[in-house]
């Protein structure tokens, strides 16, 4: 019988209490009637199955009953139901959307074999990371911790002979890269190591996209030669549609040539290295081994690699580093919103539980046990949460397009975040937790109330422990909303600060077009210079064009190209690096971008190779190397030892974007470039216009085609788009956070309002007595307001501390705004004051209007 008693626990407690005893006696009678071991065994099996089946049925009956009851109560108070559902939807929607993006960027496995063992390896000078040089890579490859290690670097090609000339992004890789990623070509094969000997004439592998768009998905492409940068290269393979490495843009893979592999220059750091850990080897173990190898390299190259270590980063993290903090902040904010939403709903339900105490009393009198009341209450919470959850998923779906801008472009995955089964499971779990979070306290309270007794008419509810719980909830809401307000405020201040930074050049009505000028044809000045002249003359003649010029690359688009400089008469030691961002420009560049010439002159067409080498430097360059001296006429060198004479000084430019510090800048005359400096050839055509810049594109295309029919135009952008792209992810984040903070603010105000309203209605009698005893209305107002401000103060103070900690954690996003920024904190404090005032207003007025006579009458 003990077994049967245990089985009975499958039934709801109320059912068990009601019928358990009799059921036990029936089963006992049955057992007595049954003779024989086998018959008894059959009886037990039968009974077990029967109990399980009936228990499920009874639970289902109760659920249906509770659902019907919930439907009735919710339709009876649609305002309450709607508020609760909307609040939940906001909370769950915010979290679902944040999760779908965070999961996409940070959690999901990369689509490569053994992705969790892939790591990125960096040279690590103090306080940063660098790409890698060939000799260092060769040394690293001796490490035993890795199953494989491969290197790659960016490249780009002009593809001609397939319709309009195209600029294709490429990646030069070592032969072991693809086997390491465990991806097979869709057509043909990948490289074998022996092909590295062919160098720049070797075979190529195409991306699916370029195969589809440029070669019409030609099934016989393998073995065909194509023209890249003017030289024929044989296609040996096509990668599958969903393969991207290292970025989504890469259209062509080539093999790193044997000459490059053998290079000995430790300063030529432009390779990227990834490794695959041996199974069972941890990242820490690999890092320890790499540390030893790093030390060996330091001894070998004491000058160049002094203090340079090795950084081993999981590949997953490496791709998403730039977004990690943004997304963490977003997820934290979303969690805050949900927390506030839950606190608010718990409070609403608590308050409603109190107003429904008579109904509960009646149901108790009718025999509803505590378990039934708790269950009923939880069912209601779950129904509200579920409806909110469904709506929340819709909210997330609507918010996704905006949040997708937070996905870094470096992520080698083509699709965008979506509401997929994984996200739906998250939303479902979150919904269930939300239901528990806001339902448990009120449910427990509604049951506990049975013990309080004294529910006779006129008993005043509230007070004591119950009010304490509600106050704690409101305080938590205030606290979370303070954290959100301050975080959003700090990030907004950072965004404004960045946006108000003067980049040093004008962005309005400036159009940028890229012409790559690669191939043997442009290796000589006799071909290059006429191209520049023809294009620039043609463009300047187009109506609406104010000025035009060529530069190696416009600011922000290219942030590298930093050269060591050797100012005349100054000794240099490593560690006090003297360097500058170097660019070659045609005359008129400064005028076109509105960079002021402070002293001296622009470069000119007469600065020919045979003439003295000239340079225009930025003010910071002059100030750093010749402080308080006239820089004009001073000379400095680059590692190529050719001396340059300063002929002009121009304003400083934020080459790395408005949010980052730049090296000083040097501009060199376009005719004084060496033929082999192909990377630095002026390739960006900069046009300043008096008409909307994009209207000029057709005319410019025509002019470029006339100058060179095989020259593709790529990367057409406006300068203002380039600048605003720098802050695009930030401004999305700030917009989302401000929206979250606004919701939090509103919810907290509603929370204060709800609690005070309740206090006022439950203390009507007391207020009446006070007034009858001569209390002034101002004293009553003080009484209520005091409670509101106490609630707020108790929440605001710890909220500010938490916000400060959050600010410290995301300091690198703050662009120099202090985590304890006074203006933000004062602003948030003021907003909390407003929030408390708004929340307290109506209840306070109601308290002040209490008429002692009616207060008594209502109570008797």
């Amino acid at each position: 019988m003990r077994f049967y008693s245990a089985l009975l626990h499958l039934y709801p407690a109320s059912f068990r209490a009601e019928y358990g005893e009799e059921m036990r006696s029936i089963v006992a009678a049955r057992r007595r009637e049954t003779k024989g071991t086998i018959a008894r065994l059959v009886l037990w099996v039968d009974t077990t199955l029967e109990v399980v089946g009936n228990a499920i049925a009874v639970h289902w009956d109760i659920l249906r009953q509770d659902l019907r009851f919930t439907a009735r109560t919710l339709t009876r108070s649609p305002g309450f139901a709607l508020t609760a559902i909307l609040v939940t939807a906001l909370g769950i929607g915010a979290n679902t959307a944040a999760f779908s993006v965070a999961d996409f960027v940070m959690l999901r496995q990369l689509p490569y074999a053994g992705a969790d063992r892939l790591v990125k390896l960096w040279e690590a000078p103090p306080g940063g990371t660098n790409q890698v040089s060939a000799p260092v890579y060769r040394e690293w490859k001796t490490a035993k911790s890795f199953e494989a290690m491969a290197a790659y670097h960016g490249s780009a090609f002009n593809l001609v002979g397939q319709g309009d000339p195209q600029r294709l992004a490429g990646s030069a890789v070592t032969a072991d890269l693809l086997p390491m990623l465990g991806v097979r070509p869709m057509l043909g094969r990948f490289f074998n190591a022996s092909e590295a000997a062919e160098g720049n004439t070797g075979p190529v592998v195409l991306s699916y996209h370029v195969w589809e768009t440029q070669f019409g998905s030609d099934p016989d492409i393998v073995g065909r030669p194509i023209l890249l940068d003017g030289s024929p290269r044989v296609v040996i393979g096509v990668m599958p549609n969903d393969f991207h490495f290292p970025t989504r843009e890469v259209a062509v893979w080539t093999l790193i040539g044997v000459d490059e592999l053998r290079e000995d220059d430790v300063d030529n750091t432009w390779w990227e290295v990834i490794g695959k850990l041996r199974p069972g080897v941890s990242r820490e173990q690999a890092a320890a081994e790499m540390d030893l190898i790093g030390r060996r390299l330091q001894q070998k190259y004491p000058e160049q690699l002094e203090d340079v270590g090795v950084f081993v980063n999981p590949l997953r993290a490496d791709f998403s580093d730039q977004s990690r903090l943004l997304l963490l902040a977003l997820s934290g904010a979303a969690a805050c919103v949900l927390l506030i939403a839950c606190a608010n709903l718990a409070n609403l339900l608590l308050a409603r539980g109190l107003t429904r105490r008579k109904e509960i009393l009646v149901r108790t009198a009718l025999g509803a046990g505590r378990e039934r009341l708790v269950r009923q209450s939880m069912t209601e919470s779950f129904v509200l949460a579920a409806l909110g959850g469904v709506l929340g998923v819709a909210v997330a779906y609507a918010a996704l397009p905006l949040l997708t801008r937070l996905v870094p472009t470096t992520l080698p995955v083509s699709d965008a975040p979506s509401i997929d089964p994984r996200v739906l499971v998250f939303a479902a779990v979150l919904t269930a937790l939300t239901g528990i979070a806001f339902g448990a306290l009120p449910a427990w309270r509604s049951a506990a109330r049975l013990d309080l007794g004294g529910l006779h008419d006129g008993a005043r509810s509230g007070g004591g422990r119950r009010e304490w719980a509600r106050s704690a909830l409101v305080t938590a809401e205030v606290m979370a909303s303070v954290v959100l307000l301050i975080s959003a405020g700090l990030l907004m201040r950072a965004l404004l600060r960045i946006q108000s930074v003067d980049p040093g050049f004008k962005t309005e009505r400036v159009l940028i077009l890229h012409t790559a000028l690669t191939g043997a044809r442009y290796d000589t000045a006799t071909h290059r210079n006429p191209f520049y002249q023809n294009v620039l003359e043609g463009v300047r003649a187009v109506p609406g064009v104010a000025s035009a010029a060529y530069i190696t690359a416009v600011p922000i688009e290219l942030q590298g190209g930093v050269w060591s400089v050797f100012p005349e008469g100054q000794a240099t030691t490593r560690g006090q690096a003297k360097n500058a961002t170097s660019r070659f420009v045609t005359p008129g560049y400064f005028e076109t971008l509105g960079i002021p010439i402070r002293r001296g002159r622009d470069v000119s067409d007469t600065d020919e190779p045979g003439q003295p080498r000239v340079a225009v430097v930025s003010e910071s360059f002059a100030k750093r190397y010749w402080p308080n001296e006239d820089p004009i006429g001073r000379r400095f060198g680059f590692p190529d030892t050719v001396r340059r004479t300063v002929v002009g000084v121009v304003g400083d430019v934020r080459m790395r974007g408005p949010d980052r510090v730049s090296e000083p800048q040097v501009y060199l005359a376009y005719k004084q470039i060496e033929d082999d400096q192909d990377v630095y050839r002026p390739k960006d055509l900069v046009i300043r216009s008096s008409v909307p810049p994009t209207t000029l594109i057709p005319a410019v295309r025509r002019i470029v085609r006339q100058a060179d029919p095989q020259q593709p135009i790529s990367n057409i952008k406006t300068m203002s788009a380039i600048v605003s792209d720098v802050t695009a992810a930030r401004s999305v984040q700030v917009r989302v956070l401000v929206a979250f903070a606004a919701v939090a603010f509103l919810l907290a105000a509603i929370g204060i309002h709800g609690l005070l309203s309740f206090t006022v209605s439950s203390r009507r009698h007391e207020i009446g007595v006070r007034m009858a005893l001569g209390a002034q209305r101002s004293q009553i107002v003080y009484l209520i307001m005091r409670q509101g401000f106490l609630l707020a103060a108790v929440g605001v103070v710890p909220g500010m501390f938490i916000a400060y900690a959050a600010g410290r954690a995301m300091q690198s996003l703050l662009a120099g705004v202090e985590p304890a920024d006074t203006i933000t904190f004062i602003g948030a404090g003021a907003l909390c004051l407003v929030m408390t005032l708004v929340g307290s207003l109506v209840p306070t007025l109601r308290a002040a209007r209490v008429d002692p006579a009616t207060a008594f009458r209502a109570d008797t």
Partner: protein, 120 residues
């Protein structure tokens, strides 16, 4: 309990267990185990309600107003005070009658099609 035809019809057709319990209580009040025994006897041992099915049905029937618990108890020497006795309500009778009528109609229809042999 006041009842209308609509209320009665809403409950039809009755689950088999419910109908058997109503029949068992038609003539006299019984406690749970007695209901099981009565059903078993009447059906020649074919239907043996389990304790769970019985009380789940009883719970629902109480809610629907087909039964009520009665305080009239048998003589103390025959009584077990842990037992509860159930009595059919007028509404319960009406529902049982309506169910019987519904079944009779069905049988009539089946007979008209030659599906029922002999006298039932």
């Amino acid at each position: 309990m006041p009842y209308t035809q609509t209320n009665v019809d809403a409950l039809l057709p009755l689950p088999a267990a419910t109908f058997h319990i109503l029949i068992a209580l038609a003539k006299e009040d019984r406690h749970g185990y007695a209901v099981i025994q009565d059903v078993e006897q009447r059906t020649g041992g074919e239907i043996r309600l389990s304790a769970g099915t019985l009380y789940r049905s009883i719970q629902r029937m109480l809610e629907q107003g087909l039964l009520r618990e009665t305080r009239d108890r048998p003589a103390p020497e025959l009584d077990d005070e842990r037992r509860r006795y159930y009595r059919i309500t007028p509404f319960g009778e009406a529902v049982a009658r309506a169910e019987a009528r519904r079944m009779a109609e069905l049988v009539k229809m089946a007979r008209a099609q030659g599906l029922v042999l002999g006298k039932v």
